[in-house]
Symmetry: C2
Subunit: 226 residues, 2 copies
DNA sequence: TTGCCTAATCAATCAGGAATTGGTTAAACG
DNA sequence: CGTTTAACCAATTCCTGATTGATTAGGCAA
């Protein structure tokens, strides 16, 4: 009994004596057990107790550290994309982007809106689908940026990265160019107008309509491919 | 003139002939210029044109690739957190989570709802703040999971990771325990009830009210600390 | 048997350097 | 004066070896 808990007391004493601050790394188990004069098994049992208690955390290849375990690293875009599919991505856009448009209408500066208008102009002058898609991407990101919320922008970037990873292969050829009556032109105009008017509901609705049109277009594209 | 544009034509011909799909990597400049039979300088000028056109992108140490430049790799949670602040995080939660609650009300299965109810029960039985916060985290993630949309769940995880990184230091002591009349209990109940009732608007509203209460609580906590 | 210790092994991670690659500069050449 | 060539720079990748927590198997004593 006294023996069994010996390692834990030794460990506690060591931590108290060294009074390490959070995130300090303590020696590797192979040395540490010799320092404390206990077997590695006993040391690991003691460490397990303190880890369960949230006083330290361990990781293979890294070491043992004081404090609470840092948050799980977010899975990479590629992994999310592998577990997702175009339908989910479209749905997520429909959930998130109208909200971003709303925030943009609330927080956009004159400079933001001017940049959006310039982007609209550039998209109409695009001579290839690739150029057009660059403008389209840029406009949607400008809307996110206009929220002036770093975190929301980061979330949009994640969404966008996954979208591009999921619909990877789909690329229009380079010879055609966007028709001058492309549906997105009007929809983008309405979106930016609503943001400029500070009309929150209209901005969200315009984004919603636009994305629904994109979705319908995607469906049509898929049917035509079969 | 003919000479000057020679490299560009050669390059275009190569791209057309090999008909590479997007994101294909083409040879390093030092070999490529020999293949095309032009000097490296000319090749680089031609590549610059196509890069400006958005048909390819280059990066030191990586190489030259076909297609549009991938968006800046998603910054790690730590970097987002460093560029953000508690106010932004709270606002982002208010924007995103009610929407997730709405999606949950639409897509939750009976098993999802049962798990939420179990989580509510566990949160009431928590004897320490740490245990309670584990339950709280779990409930919010269960709501996200109930959307059954991989991408939305991933976005929630990012938001949550940033939240935890931003409010890093703030941790309640381990001696107190959540009072039995803690405001979150009622709010969580209302949220899960609305989801179970498939009432989209009520679910979103319940989440909104809950987060506003959390926000008010945070403010009060901050004032008390000063 | 049961429990513990020791050693070996595994798998994840990190550290360092060599090699690769786009970007840049300077001298040589015509 | 423009072009080519070579060298160098800086960012990135790749590889190898070492480190480290986790796991397992054998030996050993009570």
């Amino acid at each position: 009994m006294d023996e069994a808990q010996g390692a834990l007391t030794q460990l506690r004493a060591y931590l108290a004596q060294q009074n390490l601050n959070a995130n300090a790394q303590l020696p590797p188990e192979r040395e540490f057990c010799e320092v404390l004069g206990v077997s590695r098994g006993e040391l690991r049992k003691a460490l397990a107790v303190l880890e369960e208690n949230g006083e330290l955390w361990r990781h293979v290849g890294k070491g043992t550290f004081v404090g609470t375990r840092p948050f799980e690293e977010i899975t990479g875009v590629a992994e999310i994309a592998a577990a997702s599919n175009p339908r989910e991505v479209m749905h997520a856009r429909l959930v998130v982007e109208p909200m971003l448009a709303r925030e943009a209408a609330l927080n956009a500066t004159a400079a933001d809106i001017a940049e959006m208008r310039q982007c609209l102009k550039a998209s109409r002058e695009a001579t290839t689908w690739r150029q057009y898609e660059n403008c389209d991407n840029r406009l949607h990101r400008l809307v996110a940026e206009a929220s002036h919320n770093t975190l929301l922008i980061a979330l949009f970037d994640t969404l966008n990265a996954v979208r591009r990873a999921v619909v990877w292969g789909r690329l229009r050829n380079n010879v055609d160019r966007p028709p001058s009556d492309h549906h997105s032109f009007r929809e983008h105009d309405a979106l930016v107008d609503a943001i400029a008017d500070r009309d929150l509901a209209a901005a969200a609705a315009a984004m919603d309509r636009h994305l629904h049109a994109v979705q319908a277009n995607l469906l049509r594209f898929r049917l035509a491919a079969e």
